[in-house]
């Protein structure tokens, strides 16, 4: 697969990154170069291999289900670009 203008804009939509027209050419070149590089893995046979998502051979630990008073509303909202009462404010959403 090659990244052309159309597929790149679609990818930008999926990743929520707008891509300006003047960047499209360079970006598609870069991404094609990366894709070409990683495509060399296709040569390797892996039908009998299980995937590794994490190198640590450890079961997830279970902790006591205790109530803790962390993350107050104030703390959580402290860095919000826009807030009102106890809420994050975002542009109006109408479906």
């Amino acid at each position: 697969m090659e990244f052309d203008k159309k597929s790149l804009l679609k990818l930008g939509k999926l990743a929520r990154i707008s891509i300006s027209d003047d960047k499209l050419n360079n970006l598609s070149q870069d991404l094609n170069s990366i894709l070409e590089f990683v495509d060399q893995l296709k040569e390797i046979r892996t039908d009998q291999v299980d995937p590794t998502s994490n190198s640590l051979n450890q079961k997830l630990e279970v902790r006591d289900d205790k109530v803790e008073n962390k993350n107050s509303t104030e703390d959580v909202l402290e860095n919000a670009p826009e807030k009102e009462m106890n809420f994050f404010v975002v542009p109006k959403v109408i479906e």
């Binding site: 995937p51 590794t52 994490n54 190198s55």
Partner: protein
């Protein structure tokens, strides 16, 4: 300032009241001021550092020390969340972010009485090998080639952390390593960089890049200091579910440079015609040295080595695209106004992220998207299994593996290749270690014909940090590398 300052030597100076923490902190703050041109620090916590130093001196007076290293100033990569101190990940999107919590690692530093001088520059979200992707501009390597006056990259992503230690803008620093981001800059700056086993050090409170690969570690002047610093920051943390329950050891106390009878592997797949002759020579000399000191040198094979980098450039961007989805302009960080919610997301992310971060998010989104997930993401995870089993097999035969840290010494800032893939090759020797979750260390061995440091990498099996440090200490003790850069920025 004496170049011989180390965590170890400063602990003794403080203990014998030869210097106070406040004097020491002021001295380093002065060095930081005079070394501004290196661009190592994103934030200097001048007032806080001096207050903390006074408190440390007070504790010393009252014999109420938090540790032997109480009062020693360090630098922190700007990827660790620090309560009340701006934490940017060197990105525009977080340039106004002031966390109201402290990362586990920096909390442990504080618990030991270490003083933070400030936050160190790095590649944006730790993505890069030159420190050029930082929103706050590149870091300069304190080293310069004897043949040129041009400025060199310090490596990355922990470029500020490495340059600051090398240029005496702190005695030791914290970095993070996802594909080589501690070891590669350490190699470029003549410092010691340790990436612990995955799970040895808590990731809680560190801005996430690729969660299955990220690991924090120290950059120091000596292997002894690396052991000291690892003692301070390692250990289980219930706030990080991937933090290991394996008990930590007393790395410094148990440091033993005796390597008699140990087996050291030289992997043939790391050999390359493209390797500079001086690096190849150092690698050979180091193997000879270990042999002279009583180790047995064995040729080994890690057949899937060359597949590590392409697998990494699927896995790391995939995890990054997921981790960086949180930067949406709603809860923290930059917000750019848009016509509607989606427009606001897109504008915020487009303006807030730099080019390299965007490239990786887009590649990550692509390899995780419907229709490509199996062909890329799962495929790369299968390759990861093969790489891991390479090392499992190797460690049945050898105690440690010796390789070069990087395929070149530091290069000129202006000479960075424009093709991203060419840049990715910087990490060809370090990436497999992250994919396999192993500990690795880069130590300076000698300088090349341009008087630039050459780093060598040692790798051991998971959670064998003690063995790793022991072999590294053996080399350090034998070669006694003591080169320091000429401080051109003081002129």
């Amino acid at each position: 300032m004496k170049d011989s300052y180390t965590l170890k030597s400063l602990a003794t100076l403080l203990e014998n009241n030869k210097i106070s923490s406040k004097e020491l902190t002021s001295e380093y703050l002065k060095n930081i001021e005079r070394g501004k041109e290196l661009n190592c620090y994103n934030t200097v916590s001048k007032e806080k550092a001096l207050i903390d130093a006074e408190k440390s001196d007070e504790r010393r007076k009252n014999q109420n020390l938090r540790s032997k290293f109480d009062g020693i100033p360090i630098g922190i990569k700007d990827l660790f969340c620090t309560k009340g101190v701006t934490t940017t990940a060197s990105s525009k999107i977080l340039s106004n972010f002031v966390p109201n919590y402290e990362s586990t690692v920096t909390q442990k530093c504080d618990d030991a009485g270490l003083i933070s001088l400030g936050k160190l520059n790095c590649d944006e979200f730790a993505m890069g090998s030159t420190n050029k992707t930082s929103f706050f501009g590149p870091v300069m390597n304190p080293w310069k080639s004897v043949n040129s006056n041009n400025k060199l990259v310090p490596g990355g992503s922990s470029g500020g952390s490495a340059a600051a230690v090398s240029g005496d803008l702190c005695v030791a620093s914290l970095g993070t390593d996802t594909g080589g981001s501690i070891r590669q800059p350490a190699s470029f700056t003549g410092t010691v960089g340790l990436k612990p086993s995955y799970g040895r050090v808590s990731r809680w409170g560190i801005v996430a890049f690729a969660s299955s690969l990220d690991q924090a570690g120290p950059i120091t002047k000596t292997v002894e200091d690396a052991a000291i610093f690892l003692d301070i920051i390692s250990g289980h943390d219930e706030k990080d579910s991937t933090s290991s329950v394996n008990p930590k050891e007393n790395y410094y106390e148990n440091l033993n440079p005796d390597i008699k009878g140990m087996k050291i592997g030289i992997p043939k797949e790391f050999r390359s015609d493209k390797l500079p002759a001086s690096t190849q020579k150092s690698w050979d000399e180091c193997a000879d040295l270990l042999k002279t000191n009583g180790a047995e040198i064995l040729d080994i094979s890690l057949p899937y080595t060359m597949s590590a980098l392409p697998a990494y450039y699927i896995i790391a961007p995939a995890e990054a695209s997921s981790n960086l989805a949180r930067y949406d302009g709603v809860r923290y960080g930059l917000r750019v106004k848009g016509n509607n919610l989606i427009d606001m997301y897109e504008k915020t992310r487009s303006e807030g992220f730099g080019d390299e971060v965007k490239r990786r998010i887009l590649i990550g989104t692509y390899v995780l998207s419907s229709g490509y997930y199996d062909a890329y993401y799962i495929k790369a995870q299968k390759i990861r299994s093969l790489i891991k089993s390479d090392y499992v097999e190797a460690f049945k035969k050898v105690d440690a593996i010796l390789t070069p840290s990087t395929p070149s010494t530091a290069f000129e800032i202006a000479n960075e290749p424009s093709d991203p893939v060419q840049n990715y090759l910087n990490d060809i020797f370090t990436v497999p270690v992250n994919l396999a979750g192993l500990p690795g260390i880069s130590i300076p061995f000698t300088n090349d014909e341009n008087n630039l440091p050459i780093g060598l990498q040692l790798i051991t099996n998971s959670f064998e940090e003690q063995k790793l440090l022991n072999v590294a200490r053996n080399i350090e003790k034998t070669i006694n590398y003591s080169e320091t850069p000429e401080k051109w920025w003081l002129k």
